[in-house]
Amino acid sequence: MVWAKPLPNIDEDNQPFWDGLRRHELLVFRCRTCGASYWPAAYCRTCPAEPFYGNMAWVPATGRGRVFAFNIHRFAFHPGFVDELPYVYALITLEEGPNFGTNVIDCDPSEVRIGMPVEVVYRDVVPDEGEPFTLALFRPASR
């Protein structure tokens, strides 16, 4: 499949997250002291920090969450999205707490509701140029 959409920015800060997606693992950044989860990477709000996120670790999330807010794009602001219309772009509140911006797929956009339980699904992308990457999308929860 030709990838005609924008490519993600993968830099030193978020490389472990994108590496996780390649393994089909959705990672959150967890404090080893209190267990609070963050996405994207952040120093723990409540615990003393060690240098360069020393007390934090990327760990797999459950991959489940609920729709917090969403919209339905009925216009493509980029030619790569013309065939996707209409598509849902949403904030998903992960079970671990953070909000994650992604698409809700595998359902009619008119069926999406705030509070709806959703689960992660992975889409592997091999672009014409550059490294392969994986996107974490969400679909209505199966259970």
Binding site: K5, P6, A69, N71, H78, F81, L91, T102, I114
Partner: protein, 396 residues
Amino acid sequence: MGHAFSGKYAIAGMAFLAGRFPGRTARALEVEAVRLAIEDAGLRREDIDGAINTRIESGAAESRGWTDSYARILGLPAKFYFTVQRGGIMTHLAIVAATQLLELGIAKYVAVGYGATDWSDSHQKDGRRRRSVERSGLWGRPHGDLAAASHHSFFASRHMHEFGTTSEQLGMVAVSHRRWACRNPRAQMHDRPIELADYHRSPMLVEPYRMLDMCLVNDSGAAFVITTAERARALRRPPVSVLGLGFGEAMRDLWWEKRNYTNLAVDTARESAFGQAGLSLNDVDVAELYDCFTMEVILQLEDYGWCRKGEGGPFVAAGSIAPGGTIPVNTGGGLLSGYYMADWTPFVEGVTQLRGEGAERQVAGAEVALVSGHGGEILRPGMCSTHGTLLLGKGA
């Protein structure tokens, strides 16, 4: 009692250009606006000894990169030139910097400028929308977060969910703005009145937002000259004094306080600005609010306290912000129906009203204007976190 800062500095000159200027660079539009603002103040270019440029951080291709300066092009004897770069609160931050440089006696007359070619950029074949790799620190383009509406609409999504705000009520924001624009001959939509039926016919672009929920796209240049109130009184134009300034940020609350999609970061900004000015909300005669989208107007009406949280929809539906309403909002048509110059749009309208130059749209007896700023996209996972409050007063 206000702060010693309140009333000490004043806007002495102001100018803007807004429309379609194909073939003009953003820099050229800024240069022209600064030249006009200096003339407006009745000053000579030789009088301007400080220069500040403003930009939106996520701005268009050219404005992100240019290095030449209006101060060089106009030959201004500026002792400093630098850029203040932040979406939606450019004028607010520039005033912080300029007044401190005036306070220290480093400069006597500071010019502040802005230029953008948003319309021209959007009509170029290879514009920034074709950018193939997301810029560092952003999120969402591969998922289709491609335009401001892609994430600003989350505010509408949440407010409609939590408070039952309706599409009709959003439509009344658009209609109210258009009614003001029809009284402003410089507004892009001056000759195009709309009613609710037109709103409902407007194409749905990013549901729940229709085209008429979104601000305009145009090229622009804008500038002002700021000096001490004492010096401004001696110049030819009616001075407009800076009464109070404040700022708010919601980025820290991104994970924890998920109410930040139904509230803008108004609280600290409002308290600072009104505290310095020694004023309360009842003293505000005109509200020039950052209206990139219709919901942002409803949120600010609630957050400032013109109505209670959740009641902004019925408030606008009653005609409260339109001509003849209880609080005149965006009297030049705002970003929705006037012209898109980010926070420069509410700023220039506030100055216009306090100079008493609003003509058909002039609010009688306007003494205090509130100029708000909003934006500063933090695209992880998509919010607009910053807020600025500027209180301006008639005279100096």
